[in-house]
């Protein structure tokens, strides 16, 4: 046991002290923050740019309704001569020329510009014109615009879950989706990065020929588990640091950029990522009913269950994949040879992420059920489903399968590893590995 701790310590320290680890750990959240900041900045830049649009309105109906907004300014040409207007357009600093015919309902409205007009401008103009025509028609029919406004529906569906004790709680499909997706993706990413790290570590020991000295002092199983657990600690360290740094960066961003300019959905996502709610966010967005509902439903999500199962599937999924990766590392001499053994491992994982969309659309369906039980996909798929609420027996079944598989995969990997690490300079096929598995000694 002492020796396993020594190995864990070495695997952990050599990796955590590496410059690349420190740089990546610090840089990744900074990069994420920078990306958010740049996006916000660019959005502001865009909206600040004013677009002048010259309008020739032959119907003389729209001067009222085509209102200027933040980025579009309309200028109405009094001259009715098309040629002279075109001259004004090309001489002036106009973004586009809008020509409205006498009967805009039956003739085409034209928007002429030097470049392809952007979609926002086009949509703004068409919605304004449509609205005007609609209200005119309603007037003809004798209906007041105010009446229309009064009955204009603004539907927001509040999804409420009824719990077993009859009490109701606000739920949010969006919140569940975001949390599920983020946890599933994190698990996927960590399994890949750190599973491959285990494999590379094993190959390194093999190609360096350190392994023979090592296993004359410790059992191959101790060496393999020490490496897997040591690297698991590296992964957890990195994850925790990211959470902490994420908090720090969010609070800095809030003070510098000001919360107002951060788009709401983005804020919500950040909140969801951290799984808790800073008070000021709630206060600032009090006027936003939808956001508030989302925040409330985040609180109503089974947070404890989500955190627990995230840690469980994070570690469980990692352990299964890492042990199999360690087995592969033991069976090959260099990374180039790993490909044929890697594919059957990476496919279920990539597949899980690919079907994530379908699972989210039907989180109770048979595909969702089976892929959240099968151990190679369950860490990703079950995490997608848990925020939507999964029956306890399914979670227990899925977790048990994961544990049993972990024991099995470690056994298989240890056998392959033990034989493989002592054989150099040969390439192995699946047939060889099968023989090793059945071979006792």
């Amino acid at each position: 046991m002492d020796k396993i701790l020594l190995i864990i310590k070495r695997e952990y320290l050599t990796r955590v002290r590496k410059k690349t680890f420190i740089i990546l750990t610090l840089l990744a959240p900074a990069l994420m923050a920078a990306m958010v900041a740049v996006t916000v900045f660019i959005t502001q830049l865009e909206s600040d740019q004013l677009r002048y649009i010259l309008v020739k309105d032959s119907s003389n109906k729209f001067e009222e309704s085509l209102k200027d907004n933040k980025s579009i300014k309309f200028t109405f040409a009094k001259n009715t001569n098309v040629e002279s207007i075109k001259k004004v357009f090309s001489d002036g600093n106009y973004y586009a020329l809008l020509i409205i015919p006498e009967d805009p309902e039956n003739e085409n409205i034209e928007l002429i510009s030097e470049n392809q007009s952007d979609i926002n401008t086009k949509m703004y103009i068409s919605s304004r014109i449509e609205e005007k025509i609609r209200s005119d028609k309603l007037k003809e029919l004798g209906i007041e615009v105010e009446t229309i406004d009064a009955i204009n529906p603004n539907v927001h569906i509040r999804t409420i879950k009824i719990k077993a004790d009859g009490s109701e709680e606000l739920s949010s499909t969006e919140a569940a989706l975001a949390i599920g997706y983020i946890s599933a993706f994190l698990i996927y990413m960590f399994i890949f990065i750190y599973g491959a790290m285990v494999m590379r570590g094993v190959i390194e020991e093999k190609t360096n020929r350190v392994v023979e000295i090592l296993i004359s002092s410790v059992k191959p199983f101790q060496l393999m588990m020490g490496k897997i657990l040591g690297i698991a600690l590296v992964a957890l360290t990195q994850f925790l640091l990211w959470v902490v740094l994420g908090f720090i960066i969010i609070s800095i961003t809030q003070t510098i950029v000001g919360v107002d300019s951060v788009p709401n959905n983005q804020l919500t996502e950040q909140v969801m990522q951290e799984g808790s709610l800073p008070q000021e966010i709630q206060n600032i967005n009090n006027d936003n009913k939808v956001l508030n509902d989302v925040l409330e439903s985040v609180m109503n999500l089974p947070i404890a269950l989500i955190i627990f199962s995230f840690i469980f599937y994070f570690i469980g999924g990692y352990l299964i994949y890492a042990s199999l990766f360690a087995g592969i590392g033991g069976a090959v001499d260099n990374e180039a040879d790993t490909q044929q053994f890697m594919i059957p491992l990476t496919i279920p994982l990539i597949f899980a992420l690919m079907i994530a969309q379908a699972i989210i659309q039907n989180p109770e369906g048979p595909a969702a059920f089976w892929f959240s039980i099968l151990p190679l996909t369950s860490p990703v798929i079950m995490m997608l489903r848990i925020p939507y609420g999964v029956p306890a027996w399914e979670i227990i079944l899925s977790m048990s399968v994961l544990i049993v598989t972990f024991i099995g995969s470690t056994w298989v990997a240890a056998k392959i590893y033990r034989i493989g690490i002592l054989i150099y300079g040969k390439k192995f096929s699946y047939k060889d590995l099968w023989k090793w598995l059945r071979f006792n000694g």
Binding site: T14, N208, R209, V210, E212, I213, S216, S217, L422, G441
Partner: protein, 314 residues
């Protein structure tokens, strides 16, 4: 007393038999040479002694007890395929291996300081292993092997990669260890160093032990009744005069002498050989040709392989 006994050990791998019924006795405080051609099964045997692999049948007695994993603390092993973590600092790494072998941290530190001073390599402590030359790495590895003062040392090709000066340094250290009472198993293809260092040897060929015992006794056993006769005189007359009971294998000139390597056949004696020489010249000296371990090795292995081919033909 035997420090290590290998009793009828067999080991089969998926595709071949690595050891069949090998028994060895390694006396305490001696240097034991484990010889054999490539692929004979030496490394497998060494791995079994190191608890790396288990034998299919047979057992190993370590100091009279059946071999247990705990015994590994009393074994120092320098494998043929050796290596260190390239990116790790030398001192830290030596400390890690020492702790894996069961030394406490401060004790390991103390001993490492001593050995780094003795080999004059203190300045490497904080260098990464990849910055050291191959020979330097071997030195570090040697220190790691002996640091926990094991009772049994196993060196697999210890001199490969060393320059002659360091080979001498290492030989001296190995002899020092023997003097301090360690038992040493020494596997090599360098027969000159076997003659120089080993008290006993065993020869393994094709998974079987074909020869073992005291080096001097084995040499006596393998004498071929061949003598070098040194004389001044007429070689042509001498060679014409001798009977078919003698076979001259080799003739060379040295310092004005003729040295005539002669095999005695049909129970003839050295006295008779000398008397047939005396009419043709003056006797300068005579010595028996003792086969080198190298000769014995080649002879035994070739013989064994011929026997095997013959068996297969049958």
């Amino acid at each position: 007393m035997n420090f290590l006994e290998v009793k009828e050990v067999s080991k089969a791998f998926v595709n071949h038999q690595a050891l069949s019924n090998v028994s060895l006795e390694v006396p305490e405080g001696k240097i034991f040479g484990l010889l054999g051609p490539n692929g004979a099964g030496k490394t497998t045997l060494i791995r079994i002694i190191n608890n790396i692999t288990l034998p299919d049948t047979g057992e190993i007695l370590f100091n009279g007890e059946s071999l247990k994993p705990e015994h590994v603390q009393h074994i120092g092993y320098l494998p043929e395929e050796r290596g260190l973590y390239k990116k790790m600092k030398t001192g830290e790494q030596a400390l890690y291996f020492a702790q894996l072998r069961g030394l406490k941290r401060h004790e390991a530190m103390k001993r490492l300081k001593y050995w780094f001073q003795k080999f004059e390599i203190e300045s490497w402590w904080n260098k990464k292993v990849e910055e050291l030359s191959k020979g330097m790495q071997q030195k570090v590895q040697f220190i790691v092997t002996i640091l926990h003062e094991p009772k049994l040392l196993i060196f697999d090709e210890p001199f490969s990669g060393f320059d002659p000066i360091n080979v001498n340094l290492l030989k001296q250290e190995i002899l020092n260890l023997k003097e301090k009472g360690s038992t040493i198993i020494f596997s090599t293809h360098n027969m000159a160093s076997v003659e120089e260092l080993c008290d006993n040897i065993a020869l393994i060929n094709n998974s079987k032990k074909v020869l073992d015992g005291d080096v001097q006794e084995i040499k006596q056993q393998f004498k071929l009744n061949v003598f070098d006769l040194h004389f001044k005189g007429r070689f042509d007359k001498f060679s014409a005069s001798i009977s078919t009971d003698y076979k001259i294998e080799e003739v060379r000139q040295e310092n004005g002498h003729t040295i005539c390597r002669t095999k005695l056949l049909n129970g003839s004696t050295t006295n008779q050989l000398i008397s047939s020489m005396l009419p043709h010249g003056e006797l300068v000296g005579m010595n028996e040709v003792i086969p080198s371990v190298n000769d014995i090795f080649i002879r035994v292995v070739e013989n064994e392989n011929k026997l095997q081919v013959a068996e297969q033909v049958k």
